[in-house]
């Protein structure tokens, strides 16, 4: 009985931690969609680049913290290049082309990663001070995972506040609804677009480094996480930040509990959940519902 309770508790904590980190990936995806109307298939690749750069920086300089700082910024630079040289040429066309373009980029990144880092899975060395475990009730829980949970939660809360309160957030929401109006205010919408794309990518890059030290870094991680992120934002409602956060927690918990019940078919729970949500609410939990 006690053993069961502790494994459920452990799964719950794991699920919340995984959910908050996935929220970092999904938040970028949903913000980019909300603003640019772009389904970014390369978002998982940006996350993966974050992980791999994290590996390299951490092993070169022996500092996890440096990796956590530099790798996401480098991901931002890659993202800027993708937005400026790729997506910008496609705005105004059928949004389908965005999917196809970013899918092409994802294939390229996949190939590049294998070319540079090889096919085997790597790991970022977590810092000494975050090693070891702590006891939470009956559960021995790794300190590093608590750290991941804390930092993800802080970041998500900060982004939430920013979108909700700051001028920048208001500007972002305004350009999502009416780019012409923002244009008329004398603000360069294309810079806002680039900014949001880069910002979303940096969040994904941070998640890549964080999870690179708890899961592992491998060439399949980009395509793996993008499916999880899609499930999250579709459940939450495309373009909704709140939806992405709740969706991520849901997916994190289902993944963690699913691993307790039937580890080999956890994904089926996720997809079935998404299918059910969409059948009941075709635009997701927090998606814009059709008004009059």
């Amino acid at each position: 009985m006690l053993a069961e309770f502790s494994s459920v508790l452990r799964a719950t904590m794991l699920g919340i931690q995984l959910g908050m980190t996935l929220a970092l990936v999904a938040a970028g995806l949903t913000l980019i969609f909300g603003m640019l109307d772009v389904i970014n298939f390369a978002h998982g690749s940006l996350y993966m680049i974050g992980g791999y750069l994290g590996v390299t920086i951490a092993s070169q300089f022996g500092s996890f913290w440096l990796a956590l700082l530099i790798a996401p910024l480098a991901v931002g630079v890659v993202a800027a290049a993708i937005e400026v040289f790729g997506l910008r040429a496609l705005y105004g066309r059928n949004p389908l082309y965005h999917i196809l373009l970013t899918f092409g980029i994802a294939i390229m990144v996949q190939g590049l990663v294998v070319e540079i880092w090889g096919g085997q899975s790597l790991r970022i060395e977590a810092p000494e001070m975050l090693s070891g475990t702590v006891s939470i009730g009956p559960v021995q829980y790794p300190v590093y995972w608590l750290f991941v949970l804390a930092i993800s939660t802080v970041l998500i809360a900060a982004v939430w506040l920013m979108i909700d309160r700051s001028d920048l957030g208001i500007l972002m929401r305004a350009s999502a609804h009416d780019t012409e109006m923002v244009d008329a205010l004398g603000i360069d919408v294309s810079k806002v677009f680039t900014g949001v794309f880069v910002f979303g990518a940096i969040l994904a890059g941070i998640a890549g480094v964080l999870l690179g030290a708890s899961r592992s870094v491998s060439p399949g991680m980009g395509f793996g996480v993008i499916i999880e992120a899609f499930v999250i934002v579709v459940i939450g409602g495309l373009g909704s930040f709140k939806g992405a956060v709740y969706g991520a927690l849901l997916v994190g918990l289902v993944t963690a509990y699913g691993a307790l019940i039937a580890p080999s078919v956890t994904d089926i729970f996720l997809f079935a959940m998404m299918a059910v949500v969409l059948m009941v609410r075709p635009n997701g939990l927090f998606g814009a519902t059709e008004a009059a």
């Binding site: 790729g86 910008r88 373009l101």
Partner: protein, 359 residues
């Protein structure tokens, strides 16, 4: 009704112009004839080419099936691998447990594709656009996981059904009542070529039917279709199921030739690659995506020597999306209509790109 009537020269719709003209149907016939001649040559010079050709034909059929719903009805399916793989697994299971008779297993592959597509379609058509794409992807992944984890075996309480991540290997060759020996690669190639040609004919025919016109209307404006009296969801499900039948056939042709059915056939990355083939070839033209399938498979084959072949493939794809959204079909049509103007169009596209990027 002659075979050629399907490629109707009366065709005048701007969206279906191209292959369906007189010139186009002769082009297709010439290509089929050329492929028929190429088979025996390949068999005697380099048997490996036959292997490639069958692979190309199977994927051309799969691309054709997707273009029928995507290009015609505007339904972006990111789950066509489900029907492809289901058709393939159906054949593999029948060959292993029941019979290798092609006249039994291939119709079964079609039927499996129809049933799987009707199931996925029925649940998905209420959602639109990107949500539809994601739902089809989700359902297809359920099939993938089910095959990978061999869920049917756990449910039935037997040792193995799908063979898990190894798949079903060492399948016996197909035959047809002992009359035709389909273990001969050349014979199998001819069978595949004939079925792909017939499928193209059938799909062109359906595209030109009253039903096909309705699908076109649905793509253009599904709301309005409902307000002039069409049961749009029903049309979409049926269109999706028809497409699934052809996708199932493609899987059913692919698997026996490989002598292997593996979960990878059901994975979403295959669906994604398929969408790449469509766009590269030219969406909505039917022949373009078939061409795109051929080009992608040849590229993969040629580039597989390089470790970074995915980089090149992805780059080719990115360039096509940005500079030639009409795909290879668009480029070819433009070359045919006005070769000189094509160079001008390239210049325009570059100038347009520079303006948009640097604005």
């Amino acid at each position: 009704m002659g075979l050629l009537d399907a490629f109707d020269p009366r065709e005048a719709s701007p969206t279906t112009d191209g292959i369906l003209t007189n010139r186009g149907r002769f082009g297709v016939l010439a290509l089929i004839a050329a492929l028929a001649v190429l088979g025996p040559i390949a068999a005697s010079v380099r048997p490996f080419w036959l292997y490639l050709l069958v692979q190309i034909l199977a994927f051309a059929l799969l691309a054709l099936s997707l273009d029928f719903v995507f290009g015609y009805a505007g339904l972006l399916s990111f789950g066509h691998a489900a029907m492809f793989g289901a058709g393939g697994y159906a054949v593999a299971l029948l060959v292993t447990h029941v019979t290798p008779n092609a006249l039994v297993v291939l119709p079964a592959a079609v039927l499996t594709g129809v049933v799987v597509a009707a199931f996925i379609g029925w649940f998905s058509v209420r959602a639109r656009g990107i949500y539809f794409a994601m739902l089809t992807l989700a359902f297809a992944q359920i099939f993938y996981v089910a095959a990978f984890a061999d869920l049917p075996a756990s449910l039935l309480g037997v040792e193995t059904v799908t063979g898990g991540d190894n798949g079903l290997v060492g399948l016996a060759a197909l035959e047809a009542f002992g009359v035709v020996d389909l273990s001969s690669r050349l014979n199998y190639y001819f069978l595949t070529l004939a079925l792909v040609a017939l499928s193209l004919l059938a799909i062109v025919r359906i595209a030109n039917s009253p039903f096909g016109r309705v699908l076109q209307g649905v793509r253009e404006n599904e709301d309005r279709m409902a307000f002039i009296g069409y049961d749009v969801e029903r049309y979409k499900v049926i269109g999706f199921a028809i497409s699934g039948g052809f996708a199932g056939l493609a899987g059913g042709l692919y698997v026996p030739f490989q002598s292997l059915a593996q979960p990878q056939l059901l994975h979403w990355t295959l669906s994604g690659e398929l969408v790449v083939m469509l766009l590269l070839g030219g969406l909505g033209t039917l022949w373009g995506p078939m061409l795109g399938a051929g080009v992608v498979i040849l590229l993969e084959e040629q580039l597989s020597g390089f470790t970074a072949w995915e980089v090149i493939l992805g780059a080719v794809f990115v360039v096509v999306v940005v500079f030639a959204p009409q795909g290879l079909a668009g480029v070819l049509v433009s070359l045919r209509d006005d070769p000189k103007d094509t160079l001008g169009k390239v210049r325009d596209a570059l100038a347009n790109y520079r303006e948009k990027v640097l604005k």
